[in-house]
Amino acid sequence: MKINSKAVNICAPIIVIILLIILWQIICTVTNISFHVLPKPGEVGTALVENFRGTILLDTMASVKVMLIGYCIAVPLGFVIAAISSQFTLAVRSIMPVLIILMLTPMATLVPIFKLFWGVDPTLKILIVVLQCTPVIAVNSLSGFIYVPEAKKELMRALGCRKWESFFRVTVPNAMPQIFTGLKLGCILCTIAAMSADISVGQGGLGYRIQVASSLSATDLAYAAIVVAAILGVALYMIVSVIESRIVTWK
């Protein structure tokens, strides 16, 4: 089997995950660590199955809703902010630092302030996801939009293209690799933001379940919710990666 074959690419990470689970089991058995601190993988699995219909499925649905709505708003919003600001040098210089500051601010920390304005509203969670994901998508797209090689732009001018035509024909495809970097980072931040929002705002969701289960010493359920949250994040990331491989076919 070749080292870069498709089968190796799929099997290798699965084997590593299985080895880590085995290591987890060994640590629990050897150290005899308390169930309330670190339950065995089997116990987490059992908690996942037993609570799936009762709580985890509902929490997952709630988190998926927040993640997807937030992400679907953040993507066009980040793209439009980047597209418009890329057209003006002054806008690039003034907006880029603001976007970087926003990107680095953990939005969940703003929840207490938001609560003062709007009270506890479920849409607050979506707002947190949007605020966390938009800057990273905008910053990466903007970086792609502003670094177009002069020769590529010259060809458009030689063919008599207008500025907007040149933007869609050259600037956007040229920026595709950076745009997808932003979209993939957005997937990671989207999961983190949704979980933080669940914890800060409450009212269901996997993050809320992790917090409640931990405080009730139902550590196996907390771990089960963490596993599902991780799977959600990975799934979103993989969907975007598959879309990238279909669009950026020339690399």
Binding site: A151, A158, L159, W250
Partner: protein, 266 residues
């Protein structure tokens, strides 16, 4: 005075950098008649590429105006979209878009000009075949060599059968034999189609072999110092290179360029 097919009149170009303004061209006037094959030679930095970039309206002249087939444009007036389709530009580098396949790159000007791509399919295939690239039509630029990319860049400039073809040292990166083959192919296209060709090169032999006229330029700032008619007849083949008159033309131009370089050193 009656205007030529292409007239560059009293054109100057100043490039502004953050700290300096660089005079690339100073009061240049050139004329090109319909169907002529004219080369522009000169040392690096003499503004050869800047001239054809201005003719193609890629960059604007600081002063002066350019007329192509009766249409005059300058710093304020752009070249009309109708006129621009008469022009073809071949870059020094292949300048292919990596997200398009080889054939899509070749067809790009037609797509932008809103032409029916199906009508040109046969022409595209024939041009690709002519440069030995038909079997790579669906490959991406990253999958072919630099020389192959350059050949694609050349035929992209010709796909829409332009009346005027501007070539900016198009074969600079190619090996000697490919270069000779493509030069002979270019002469054939020129004879068959009557295209007006402005050819930028730093290779004096290439300029003399291909052209009916050669403009010689000097640099800092770029100026025309000679306009030499190359009277070597219509039949241009590689055999001309050994002939005495061919050598005399080359020596005359090389001496002019050499004098410039020497003058700069002194």
């Amino acid at each position: 005075m009656e205007k030529s097919y292409i007239s560059i009149e009293n054109v100057s170009k100043v490039f502004q950098t953050r700290k300096h303004s660089i005079a690339a061209l100073k009061d240049i006037s050139m004329r090109f008649e319909k169907g002529e094959f004219v080369s522009i030679v000169g040392p690096s930095g003499c503004g050869k590429s800047t001239i054809i970039r201005m003719v193609d309206d890629i960059i604007k002249p600081t002063e002066g105006s350019i007329t192509v087939d009766g249409f005059t444009y300058d710093n304020n007036v752009p070249l009309s979209s109708e006129q621009i389709q008469k022009l073809g530009f071949i870059f020094q580098i292949p300048n292919l878009y990596p997200w398009f396949t080889v054939k899509e790159n070749v067809m790009l000007p037609l797509k932008i000009y809103g032409k029916d791509l199906k009508e040109y399919d046969e022409r595209a295939n024939s041009l690709l075949d002519g440069v030995g690239m038909l079997e790579y039509a669906n490959a991406y630029p990253a999958e072919i060599s630099g020389g192959m990319s350059q050949r694609i860049g050349v035929i992209r400039g010709m796909i829409h059968s332009p009346d005027i073809l501007m070539m900016d040292e198009p074969y600079g990166a190619l090996d000697e034999s490919t270069r000779e083959t493509l030069n002979m192919e270019l002469l054939k296209i020129w004879k068959d189609t009557g295209t007006t060709i402005i050819f930028i090169t730093h290779n004096v032999e290439e300029a003399v072999l291909l052209s009916e006229r050669v403009y010689v330029m000097e640099s800092h700032p770029g100026r025309v110092i000679a306009d030499i008619k190359i009277d070597l007849g219509e039949e241009r083949t590689l055999d001309l290179i050994g002939e005495e008159r061919f050598g005399e033309y080359c020596t005359e131009i090389e001496n002019l360029i050499g004098k410039i370089e020497l003058a700069k050193i002194k």
